[in-house]
């Protein structure tokens, strides 16, 4: 653990930058998935009625999928993000 305050501050800044990069990457990934879901519902609603897997329609699969992916990505972020600073 660094004892030098300036080293501590540099480490925190680096960690913040890395977290932001990881967070933004995951944000873009999820936004694309959410955008695809919304655009398909809006412009191709009939596609949502097709049943690609397990006898369930795409509306159910993609809706549940988006919720589960959100939980999964949040865990990935929690796992790979770095501790940034001890607070204010």
């Amino acid at each position: 653990m660094p004892t030098d305050p300036s080293a501590d501050s540099t480490t925190a800044a680096t960690a913040r930058k890395q977290n932001m990069r990881l967070g933004l990457s995951l944000f873009v990934l999820y936004t694309l998935l959410y955008g695809a879901f919304v655009m398909t519902s809006a412009f191709y609603p009939d596609v949502m009625e097709t049943r690609p897997w397990g006898g369930l329609n795409l509306a159910l699969l993609s809706g549940f999928g988006l919720i589960l992916v959100a939980i999964l990505l949040s865990f990935i972020y929690g796992l790979f993000s770095r501790v940034a600073g001890a607070g204010r």
Binding site: P45, M48, G63, S74, S81
Partner: protein, 645 residues
Amino acid sequence: MIYEVSPLAVAIFLLFVGGTIGLSFFLGRKTQTSEGYFAAHGQVPWAVNGIAFAGDYLSAASFLGICGMIAFYGYDGFLYSIGYLAGWIVALFVIAEPMKRLGRFTFADALDSQFDSRGIKLAAGISTLAVSVFYLIPQMVGAGALIQPLLGLPHWAGVVLVGATVIVIVVTAGMVSTTWVQFLKGSMLVIFSFILSAMVLSRGLEVTPPGSGPGELQTIGPLPASEFAQLQAFAGRPAMRETEPWVDSGFVRLENPAGGFDVFSVRQQDDQVWLDQAQAVTTAADGSQQIDGLPKGDGEGQRLLRPVGHLASLPDGQTETGPLGPLQFFRTLQNSEVVLWGNRRLVHADQTVTTVYYQKPTEGSRILRPGEHPTFAGIRSGQTKDRIEFLSLMLALFCGTASLPHILIRYYTVKDEAAARKSTIVGITSIGVFYVLTLYLGLGAMTSGALDVTNSNMAAPLLARSLSPLLFAIISAIAFTTVLGTVSGLILASSGAVAHDLISGFLGIPLSGQQQVRVAKIAAVIVGGIAILLGIAFVEMNVSYLVGWAFSIAASANLPALTMLLFWKRTTRQGIIASVIVGMVSSLGWILLSADTFTQVYGLRADQAWAPLSQPGIVTIPLAYLTLIVVSLATSNNRATAKAA
């Protein structure tokens, strides 16, 4: 009878209220300072804060509104669940850690962290108040909707009871008591929603033939279509001689030997006609109501609405399924026929209004796809405008969560950025699990035979009632606590905006920590009073629908300023102020001039509305971003460039 006062529910509810108020007084001794009152000293453990996020966020709109919308229209209500949860991705990946780093007590603190500007404090303070008040309305409406079955009191009594309890919670211990109330509520909501969903699956699905089930709704037919117009009696019962507005209304009224009438909707298939029993609610100018021609009530010569919600058929001619697995439940429903309920308004010459609620047998595959609710039906109309309306709402839900002041201030209650991140992950997980369960709860209610056709907000508690009286008591009490938790957060955010941002920050009146807390408590009482009045005024609106408005205002006013401050180095003080004001005024003004507000609030026609869409987000969110960019570029020479966070 749909509603019956349950002493057990009253006891559990009073226990909840007594417990939360007692807890608040106990914790109140620790919150004399502004750090304690507004931010719980930043000492809330991250796991507790995460569940409190769920308690703060899962409002009456989520529990009552979404379940009600699913119960009445199917998958469309679930679209709100998907949009609300997606918003948390913005909160976690973009906002959480910088918010903790930049702010102290209020949303304005974060926006103003690099400028020390009175203008930002004023704009952000007003925006916080506007969003919070809009968000408060549906919560209070939800409280009123719950009070009738629980205590047998009128709507306004529920609103006053919740308002008064919340004021006590906030005034006694601020964020400390609010956090623990939200923690308890969040935990219980998720746990009992899980139990309720498991019971729905365990009960399975069954067909209710005409004349049976709790509502005992009759179906007459088939009758030959060619002779139908000449018939004067049906199943041995004389038809009433029709006058306006019943003539050619699509309904047939038969005399009821017990008084009043029974009303039926006409359903034609090929050359055969069926009459399906409907229900008519007539409201006179003085507010008195009749059900199927008799005064509303459970006494002699009176009538009550029948509970509804049933399946017309199951796959392969089954009459009941027995317990179902989580995916099997959807597969079965997808291949069944469910009876949904529509309504039509008939206006009499004396301005008395009769609303006829009629059966709409609907294929299960239609219920489990988007586009059945009037708000979303446009996506199947082929009209570009309707599709843009849909996109606009989904955009507002996505951007709104991370812009809600009462959610953002919860980042100040933990000790550091890592704790802010961890608590958001706990929040997303618990909220996500709850939203998955909303589909089981809503569809379970849809087929429970317990629904009130006039009140979609009561679907979840009435589902519980169809399963077990004890569960009904607990769920009703939790629903009340749901309102308490969210309203506490909203009133706390509002009181902080008044005391910290407007009086101390903008007006520059120097206040010590204790004085600031005192002013915040007075503001909490005033905002609570306003919330009570609005909750009474907006009694008939679906709570989930109203929350959509709050999200649009929050997303337009707050998110552009917050994200640009974090990611664009050239953002200026003037740019932030202009963005917040333009976002707030444009979205609020748009909503007030929209077709939905014209029809549902002003009682005018939709074609008289000025705004082209009902959902403003798709225009007002980019407009706020654009305003910030233009104003920042125009004023970049007059100030020091802000450092990106």
